[in-house]
Structures are given as C-alpha cells and as structure tokens.
C-alpha cells in the first residue's frame, strides 16, 4: 500500500507553523521567577507534534532538531531543570531556526545546514551543561549514556537482534521501513531467520514469522537505533549490542573532564542530518503552482451560522414556490411576507459570507511580542508591550497588507520613541517603557493605534530637520499637525545615527502610502516628553463599500458614500465661469470646480446639460473638493467591488466596477482620479 504522502505536506506545514507560533508565544510568556508547568507543557506538546509529524513525512533533519529541543523542554517540564533566560533565548532561536528549516523544505530549497548545526550545538550545550552537574551527583546512572555518547565519533559496530511478534504487521508497522531508516544511519547488513515460518497451508500472510540479525556500522548512538524501533517496542523482542574497539570501553572511570568532551563530539551528529536533507531538496519542484493558493482558517461558529442561514433560505424558497404554484390574489400578503423574509435572509447570508473573510487582528499583533522582546534586548531598553482589542476583526486582505506598516511603526516607537532606562528615570518616568497596540471599531472603520510613553515628537527638531533637508521653506508656517506629518515625507529621518532597527528615512512615507492604498489614513498625536500615538484608520473591508448610485443619461455610476459631502441644486447666481474654460460655483464662501460628468465621460444621453437643471454632488477626494454635475441621485446601496483590471485594464476616473441588482455593471467613480481628469 503506498499513499502519496505529499498530499498531506501542506497540512503538516500549516500545523507546524501554527505549533511554532504556539511555542514562541509560550516561551515569551514564561515568567522566569514562577514558571507554570502547564505553560511548559503547551510548548512541549507543540514541539512534540512537530517532531512526530516531521518524522512521519521523512523530514529527519527537522525531527532530529526538534528532538533535542524536546529533551530540553522535557527536563524543564519535569522540574529537573531550571527555566533560565539563556535557555529560553536558545529555545527562541531554535524556534526561528525550525521555522527557516520548514520554510526551506516547503519551498523545496536548500536548508541552511550551518545555521541549523549552530543552533543545535547551542541547544546541546544548554542541555549538556546540566548533564555535567548530574554526572557528578548521579554518576552511576549516567554512565551508560555517556558511554554511548562517548563512542559517537568512532565507527561502531552494533549488533541488533530483532524478532517481532507475529502481529507486528497488523499494527501497520513495516520492518523494511525501519531497516531502511537504519541503513540511513550507517552501513547495514541484515540476516534473516526463516525458521519460524510455518507450512504454506498454515501461513497467514498478515502475520510476521521472520526474525532478523542486523549489523550496523557507523557513528551511531544507541539512542539513534532505539529511536527507529520506538514504535514497535512493545511488539518485538529486541537486543542491541555494541561491539567496538575495547579501548573506549575499558575507560570505566569517568572524570568530569572527560565528560566535558561530550559536548564537542555531539556536533558530529549533525552530519547525518546534512546528508539526509539532500534527497528532500533534490525533489523537482512540480508543486510550485499548488503552493500559491492561499487558504484561510475559519471559526467553526461562523460556518455554522452560514449553514443555518442557508437552511432558512431554503425554507423561505420552498414556501414561496408553494405560494407561486397556486396563486390567488388573497395570497398576496403571504407572498409579500415571503419576499421580505427572503430579502432579510439574503442580506444576512451576505453578511455571514463576508464575515468568513474577517480575521481577528491578533493575526498581525501576535508577532509583536517577539519583535519587542528581541529589539528591546538589542537596544538595551526595557519595554512592556500591551495589546488591547486583539479580537477586533478585519478583512483578510487588510490584515495581510497591514502587517508591514505596523511593524514599521512599532519599530519606530521602540527605537525613537522610548528612551533609554536611565533617561526615563531622569525624566521621572518608570524605567520600563510601555508600547500599546490597540484596535477597535469606529463606524465603518477599524482604528489601530500604536501608542508609546516615550519622549514624543519634538516639533522644533522636526522643523529644523525638514528645513535642513530642503523639504520645507524656512519661513513656512506649519500647524502642529502639519509639523508631525513631516515625518511622512520621503527622505526624512530624525534618528541621530542610523541603527539597523530604523532611521533610514525610507519608512514612514511608504507606511503612509500603503495605508492610503488601502483606502485609509494615518494620523499622529504627540506630546513632547509624554509620548506619541499613531492612529491608522482603515475601512473594515475592501470588498464591499457603501455607495450612492447616480444617473447620468441612461448610465449608472456609483460614488463611494464616504467621499460625498452633500448634494445641492445650484442656482445661476452661484456659478462663475473662469475665462472661458472651467466652471466654479460658490458654496458657503468656497469656490469649487464643477466636473460635468456627461462631458468628462462623454454621455450622449444626458438629460441635464444646463447646470441649473441637474444636481451637483459635492465630493472630497484626498483633500480636493469639487462638484460633480449629474442628472439624478438614485439610491444608496452596499456594493461589492469588482476589479476592472482582472480582465480589462485601468480606466481613468474609475476605481472599479460593481454589479447592480438587475445584473448590469456599474462603474465606481474614483474621485481623485476624476478631479485629475477634469484638470487636463
């Protein structure tokens, strides 16, 4: 029976990455003074499943590596080992290393063997440091382990007598597979013993009557061999015997110095890992296409709601068709009832479907504890990260596009915002700085705030810097808000010296552009000496928006509701014509340009060509206001945004399209684009 294991790889990777996240969070949450055994247990379990999974799929490099981590965690769990900061740091590093290994295997690329070996060594030093102490206290019990470790570097000959019980095959174990695994450890010679095999007529092909004598030559430890037989321990009789040069064995008294040597010799063990990786790597990358499909994890609750909705819909539908079959006028009320039910259910269904795309913002937030942990130790700052509202939900696309800008902002707060502990003390602030990440809904938007209690933005410094860089004039008159916004200009950096954390001045302008491309905006509130807050406002979803449909001639367009300020009927007295081209109208002491939709989009069927006949919708697009001259306002509705570019191309003045109730397509207007277009 051969199953294509590759089909499960994706699941394995997903689960492993999830496991790694759990480990990371767990490790970061460990409180050095008072360690909760359950926390360690959680980390251990995650490591254990990764080890198990990688073993099953033959990613031996990963399982070997995880094995060492697991041993360390196991001892922590049993209380045999103190949880120390260095140990946790080593484990965190190993989590990163594992992540890289898995990612490399997933992309079918070369695993960075040197890096893996480095981390493995660090882990083993951590692990064996303890062994030394125990050797002293409990020498006798440790002798055997050391002995087997000790001889690691030589070419040992192991003799293994392996006689499985008859039901071995029924439990799904295959001796041949185990032998193959053994063969990967060293040179294997097998001798099979048929004596137990019964007569042909009595033979049950599902029973195993064979036994083997195996001889393995290689630098293998006893534990490596017993690992292979781990699964069948209870289903066989087995003896592992070492036949090797007697010199080593004679060394019966172990002193402390000798056991120290254990540490470097262990390194040798990484070599087989090296060899074993290559076959995985060599696989041709046929599955490249399959990997690009992105998936989404959905809360079962949401799916249940969806199924309920569909159930309701089906009931309504059957009720309506019943009414329809024998329709009489006295059933009109029933029909109306049914239709309104149908309407309600469809809307709810739409909402729950959209809900599936919503992910909690914690998907983005979860990476920050690690980032803050690493950076604060690098910068010698003491920083506490507080996260509020991680369960706030946002559209998947927003979540994905949000993470880079947020990383930037948090790094900036860490680097520029929070002062060094000494400076903080001097300023009368607590030594530990606080960075708060907060997410909440406000109206149809999600607001994400990055708040720090650091030194805040210094307006004078900002100003001086901007003048120095030639970004503003020396006598420019800026409001506070405008001054703060200087940091969003390209080529602006206030850090006195560049660090590898931040300060290259390429960040904030990109951050702002990214946020704006998502249809959001970003604002800064800051108080010198008290800290600053950067707030990002984003639409909840990019797929649906509130729109106002308008008519120009017999064509329909959608204006994003958010950009409409008001609509008015204008009077002749309000209109000003500017030197033959361009028209403006006065609205409460402000002169706004008029964009005639029927001219700009060349609609020949337009009813209103005189400004006083139609309607003017005052819109605001990225700070530019203008009046759109249209025939009529139709109605407000939620529209699903569809891309025009998928099959067509970008069209000036149009940001997308949507499908109206009657199945026809309406274009969604791009207000800033229209303003640009009308200026041409």
């Amino acid at each position: 029976m051969s199953i294509d294991m590759a089909q499960f790889h994706q699941v394995f990777f997903e689960e492993s990455f999830e496991g790694l996240d759990i480990m990371e969070t767990g490790l970061l949450n460990l409180d050095m003074g008072d360690v909760d055994a359950e926390d360690i247990n959680t980390i251990f379990r995650a490591a254990h499943s990764i080890k198990g999974g990688s073993g099953t799929f033959g990613f031996t490099a990963v399982s070997d590596f995880t094995h060492v981590m697991e041993t360390l965690l196991d001892e922590m769990r049993d209380g045999r080992r103190q949880v120390t900061q260095p140990a946790v740091d080593v484990l965190l590093g190993s989590v990163d290393c594992l992540k890289e290994m898995l990612a490399a295997i997933q992309d079918e690329q070369e695993v960075d063997v040197a890096r893996v070996a480095e981390y493995k060594k660090a882990l083993e030093i951590e692990l064996n440091g303890r062994e030394l102490e125990e050797v002293v206290t409990n020498e006798a019990s440790k002798l055997s382990t050391i002995e087997s470790d000790k001889v690691d570097n030589g070419n040992n000959i192991w003799r293994i007598a392996f006689s499985p019980h008859t039901n071995l095959l029924k439990t799904g174990n295959d001796p041949v597979r185990m032998f193959r695994e053994l063969a990967s450890l060293g040179k294997l010679t097998t001798t099979v013993d048929f004596q137990g095999v019964p007569d042909f007529y009595d033979l049950d092909p599902e029973e195993c009557h064979l036994s083997w004598n195996l001889e393995l030559v290689g630098d293998v430890s006893e534990s490596d061999i017993s690992d292979v037989f781990d699964w069948v321990e209870d289903e066989c009789d087995m003896a592992i015997q070492l036949i090797t040069d007697p010199v080593e064995n004679d060394n019966s008294t172990f002193t402390e110095e000798q056991s120290i040597e254990v540490v470097p010799t262990k390194e040798v063990k990484t070599e087989p890992a090296n060899k074993e990786i290559s076959p995985t790597v060599a696989k041709p990358s046929k599955k490249a296409a399959a990997k690009t499909s992105s998936s989404i994890r959905v809360d079962t609750g949401k799916i249940d709601t969806l199924i309920n909705m569909v159930g309701e819909l089906v009931i309504t539908q059957s009720m309506l068709s019943l009414v329809g079959e024998q329709f009489e006028m006295n059933k009109l009320d029933q029909l109306k009832n049914g239709l309104s039910q149908l309407d309600r259910h469809t809307r709810e269904l739409q909402e729950s479907v959209m809900n599936i795309r919503m992910l909690p913002i914690s998907f983005v937030f979860s990476r920050f504890p690690r980032l803050v942990h690493d950076l604060s130790s690098k910068l010698d700052k003491k920083i506490e990260l507080v996260m509020v509202g991680e369960h706030t939900e946002v559209d998947k696309t927003v979540v994905e596009l949000l993470s880079d800008p947020l990383v930037h902002l948090v790094r900036n707060s860490l680097d520029h915002g929070i002062e060094m502990p000494a400076d903080r003390m001097a300023a009368g602030k607590p030594e530990t700085g606080t960075i708060t990440l907060e997410a909440y809904h406000r109206g149809g938007n999600i607001v994400i705030e990055v708040k720090d209690d650091g030194k805040g933005l210094n307006k004078d410094v900002l100003r001086a810097k901007a003048i120095e860089k030639g970004l503003i004039d020396e006598d420019a008159n800026l409001t506070d808000k405008q001054t703060y916004e200087l940091i969003f200009m390209a080529g602006f950096s206030t850090a006195e010296k560049l660090t590898d954390v931040s300060g290259r001045g390429v960040g904030m302008d990109v951050v702002r552009r990214n946020i704006q491309s998502l249809g959001g905006n970003i604002e800064i509130i800051s108080e010198l000496g008290k800290g600053s807050t950067i707030a990002i406002h984003l639409p909840l979803t990019l797929a649906i928006m509130d729109g106002q449909s308008i008519a120009v001639g017999d064509e329909r367009f959608i204006i994003p509701l958010g950009s409409i300020i008001e609509s008015i009927n204008i009077k002749e007295s309000m209109i000003n014509r500017v030197a033959g081209r361009g028209e403006t109208f006065r609205l409460r002491d402000e002169y706004l340009p008029i964009v005639r939709m029927h001219e700009i989009f060349d609609v020949k069927t337009a009813q209103a060509t005189k400004l006083t006949d139609g309607l003017v919708v005052v819109v605001d697009g990225q700070g530019m206001r203008c009046g759109l001259f249209i025939d009529d306002l139709l109605g407000q509705q939620q529209v699903v945004i569809k891309s025009l570019e998928a099959n067509y191309r970008k069209v000036e003045g149009v940001s997308g399209a949507t499908i109206l109730g009657d199945g026809s397509v309406a274009l969604i207007l791009d207000i800033p684009g229209l303003v640009r277009l009308s200026n041409q």
């Binding site: 329909r556 700009i600 060349d602 099959n647 067509y648 970008k650 069209v651 149009v654 499908i659 026809s664």
Partner: protein
Amino acid sequence: MAEKAENIEAELTEEKKLENLVQFLSFTLGDEEYGVDILRVQEIRSWEPVSRIPNVPSYEKGVVNLRGAIVPIIDLRERFGLGHLEYSPLTVVVVLQTLTELGQARTMGVVVDSVSDVIDVDKKTIQDAPNFGTKVSTEFINGLASVKDRMVMLLDVGKLLKIDTLDDEDENT
C-alpha cells in the same frame, strides 16, 4: 492477413493525422472567415447590452457581468476596420480566455457576425500569414488555412486579448 495489415496501417496513418490536427472555431466578419483555437473558447453567448466604458476606443464596447466577473466586450469588426453592423439578438459574442505572462487567466468577449463551424486543420497545412492587403492588420493573424476551398484566417488569441495592455502602455508613455 494482408488485409489486416493494411487496416492497421490505415489506422496508424489516421492516428498520425489526428496528432497533427488542431481544432478551430470559425466565424465570419462580413465576407471574411476567421478561426480561433477552440481550446481558447470559453463559451458562445448572444449579444446583450453592455455598460459603456468612458474614453476608450469605439471598438471596446464596454463590460458585462459574466457570472460575477467583469468582462470586456470587443467588437472585432470595428477592431479590424470592417465597419459597424447593428447588433441584433442574433449577434454572437465569443468568450475567449488566455493566460497572461503572470499566469492569470484573462477573459474577453469578442463580437462577431456569426459562428460557422468547428474545423479540423492539419498543423502542417497552416501557412504563414503573408503580408497581403487585407483590411486586417496582420499582427493578430497566426496563419492561414484552407478548408474546403475557403480561406480561414487563424487569429492569435493571446495577441488579441493583449490589445488592452498594449494600449495601456501607450497611454503611460
């Protein structure tokens, strides 16, 4: 025996022929007959009103809703400079599909006078498009095939669907 051998031989040559055969969907524009690779044809629909796109060439008729996707409709007659024909319920839209360089599927509808046939063309008999004086610019023509004494111009769907992006580049420069 001999007969059997002959049969086998006949079958073999038949198979060989099949290997070289490519199927094209042929359609007419005015008096001219065109063909597109049938594997590029997604479906054939009747003409339905489109939503006009402002400020584009007149042969780009607009977009329609094709089961939730926004699909542009191009009038091939106008594109090839063959004049405009009034649309009737019998006007046919052939929905074509191609992959872009980025590996994304692009769908587009082309308006033609009528769909005539599915033709089998032996790859070897396809002639290169000569630089002759048709009204059609030869850039979209992959080759010529003659089917039952009629000449069919085989169109390169990839190039046809790329019209948009090409125009787009022009606009940008």
